[in-house]
């Protein structure tokens, strides 16, 4: 009897947490498939009487009369993808080499370099933004995806080095010694032995870097001004700034911006949990 009661209470708590998680998301989805009239009705239509995919159609095949923001949203999705993918690629290649050296090779100042790199990861973006802005305008990079790729590396690279370091640390040294006895030099060992078994580490590091870059808002807000380089978060924030708020479009934008990171995280959830415990943080 006491045990049944115990299970009922615990189950209720589980339901409570699930409601807290899913209720806002459900409302986001419902708002994205509601008509403008239903969104602005009182009392609220919790379930839309005439669900519509018009908001999605507006974004993906812009016809006449759709809002400018919805039209440009597609381009900003592309910008986000381009920037986040490039940053992830560069951070993985450059970062994993540095990380391997820091963990495995003996050379002067190794320890202080590792600590220094960990430290730069914590520098807030707002402390870097003015000099980076001046740099961007001087070299004609303002409002270009290139400046976003460069500036995003300020957090992505130390982050990648850190995560890969935690991973390389778990690879047994004996494996490398064996390769060297077989006549491999350091570079060959790294390429033929270490990289293949580091695949899981590279996947989880790549995932965290991609999610962080996809999420980034502040640099994009300051360093871009038109659709030439604007990213999705900036485009969504702009929906709210307009005088006439297109709520349906805004919510649809939100759903589309959330789909890639949520899907990736669910597919690779194993890596997420192990990455989090290794001290990874997207924030």
């Amino acid at each position: 009897m006491k045990k049944t009661l115990h299970i009922i209470v615990l189950s209720l708590l589980v339901v409570l947490v699930l409601v807290f998680i899913y209720l806002p998301v459900a409302w986001l989805l419902i708002s994205s498939i509601s008509t403008r009239a239903e969104l602005l009705s009182t009392p609220i239509h919790w379930i839309p009487q005439q669900p519509t995919l018009q908001n999605y159609i507006n974004i993906f095949s812009p016809a006449q009369g759709t809002s400018e923001v919805a039209k440009t949203f597609r381009i900003t999705l592309w910008n986000s993808l381009l920037v986040a993918t490039s940053v992830t690629f560069i951070a993985l290649v450059v970062g994993s080499l540095a990380s391997y050296a820091l963990i495995r090779l003996r050379f002067p100042f190794r320890q202080s370099m590792l600590i220094g790199i960990l430290g730069t990861r914590m520098i807030p973006e707002i402390s870097l933004v003015i000099p980076l802005y001046l740099f961007a305008t001087r070299f004609g990079l303002f409002n270009s995806p290139v400046i976003l790729i460069i500036t995003y590396l300020s957090f992505a690279l130390p982050f990648a080095i850190w995560l890969m370091a935690a991973f390389f640390d778990t690879i047994p040294v004996e494996l490398e010694d064996a390769a060297r006895i077989d006549g491999c030099n350091r570079i060959q060992t790294l390429w033929r032995i270490i990289m293949p078994i580091s695949a899981p580490g590279l996947v989880s590091t790549g995932l965290f870097v991609f999610l962080t870059a996809w999420d980034e808002f502040f640099f994009a807000l300051i360093l871009t001004s038109t659709v030439a380089a604007k990213t999705v978060p900036v485009a969504i924030a702009e929906f709210t700034g307009r005088y006439v708020v297109d709520v349906g479009g805004m919510m649809t934008g939100g759903v589309l911006a959330a789909i890639p990171p949520v899907l990736l995280s669910l597919i690779f959830q194993r890596y997420i949990v192990s990455g989090l415990t290794a001290g990874a943080v997207k924030g």
């Binding site: 589980v14 609220i44 450059v94 520098i123 003015i130 350091r186 997420i272």
Partner: protein, 308 residues
């Protein structure tokens, strides 16, 4: 190993060490150059800019004033109010996050029906981009059509729609609620993973010794969780202290500056008021705070007795 080949081996070891150092520097050089260029140089520039009076925008001329930008803050009530507000946000949100996150982790650990589904679900709020999270809650809080008003009215808790975000003392707490939706699952994920690795025999031994459930939790489990809790605590404190994105979308600092935190004030000084010098000084203070927290964090992650 024969004595004659001993010298040869030493020789070989030495060249290997030299080769290691060379390869090491070559592998690390690109990263070091990038970090010097886009992190170290800019932060030193910001420190330099903070020593100037420059209040007519980024490209205007400036006058050297030493540490005056810093000393004026000390006597500026707006600065102290903003610090207080930032601390309120940080303490309330991190405090609630830890308590709720620990509770959810604990709940999952008891494996009630549906715990695996719950664990997977925690990933969703964590993965939703911050700006989407903010936009979603802003729409929920909407005065005229928001879901919160709709729900509270139907439940009979309020009798007419309330413009929540126009109330200074309410707005900050609603921003905190939106932030909790994102970070409680994050803390819960970290702590449930930590809980899963704890040895069960210690608690069993405590139970045999007559410790009740609460005692076992407080005296055995909590101390074992301490490292994971500390890591989560420091990370979240740093993030909460520099909160910007979610405030930008939900309240944009309003109403009446009641949600302006230290990062938001820095943003306003730099980009709305054109006070580049003052803004730089503020941003440097945020960095300093972060640096101290980073130091604590690194000390915690890499204890002296452990190898790097």
């Amino acid at each position: 190993m024969s004595p004659s080949s001993h010298g040869e081996t030493m020789q070989r070891k030495r060249t290997l060490a030299q080769q290691d150092a060379l390869v090491g520097f070559a592998l690390i050089l690109p990263s070091v150059l990038i970090i010097l260029g886009i992190s170290l140089q800019p932060i030193i520039s910001t420190l330099y800019l903070s020593l100037f009076e420059s209040s007519r925008g980024i490209n205007a001329e400036r006058t050297f004033i030493g540490f005056a930008n810093y000393t004026t803050f000390l006597s500026d009530p707006v600065f102290w109010i903003t610090i207080g507000r930032t601390l309120y946000f940080t303490l309330v949100s991190v405090g609630l996050e830890l308590v709720l996150g620990l509770a959810i982790a604990q709940l999952i650990h008891t494996h009630p029906p549906g715990w695996q589904f719950l664990r997977t679900s925690l990933i969703i709020p964590w993965a939703v981009p911050t700006i989407v999270n903010g936009t979603m809650w802003r729409w929920i809080y909407n005065a005229d059509y928001g879901a919160m008003n709709g729900l509270l009215l139907q439940l009979g808790i309020i009798d007419k729609y309330i413009p929540w975000l126009t109330k200074p003392n309410v707005a900050m707490n609603l921003v905190i609620l939106a932030d909790l939706w994102h970070s409680v699952p994050f803390i819960a994920l970290i702590l449930q993973a930590a809980l899963a690795t704890l040895p069960a025999d210690l608690e069993e031994a405590a139970a045999v010794d007559g410790a009740n459930a609460l005692q076992r939790f407080l005296l055995v489990r909590l101390p074992l969780l301490r490292p994971a809790i500390l890591v989560a605590l420091v990370i979240r404190t740093v993030e909460a202290f520099r909160v910007f994105d979610i405030i930008y979308v939900i309240t944009n600092g309003g109403p009446a500056y009641s949600t302006v935190t230290i990062s938001f004030l820095t943003y306003l000084e730099m980009f709305s008021f054109g006070h580049v010098g003052r803004g730089s000084a503020l941003s440097f203070l945020i960095s300093l705070f972060t640096l101290i927290m980073a130091f604590i964090y690194i000390r915690m992650l890499y204890r002296p007795e452990e190898k790097l």
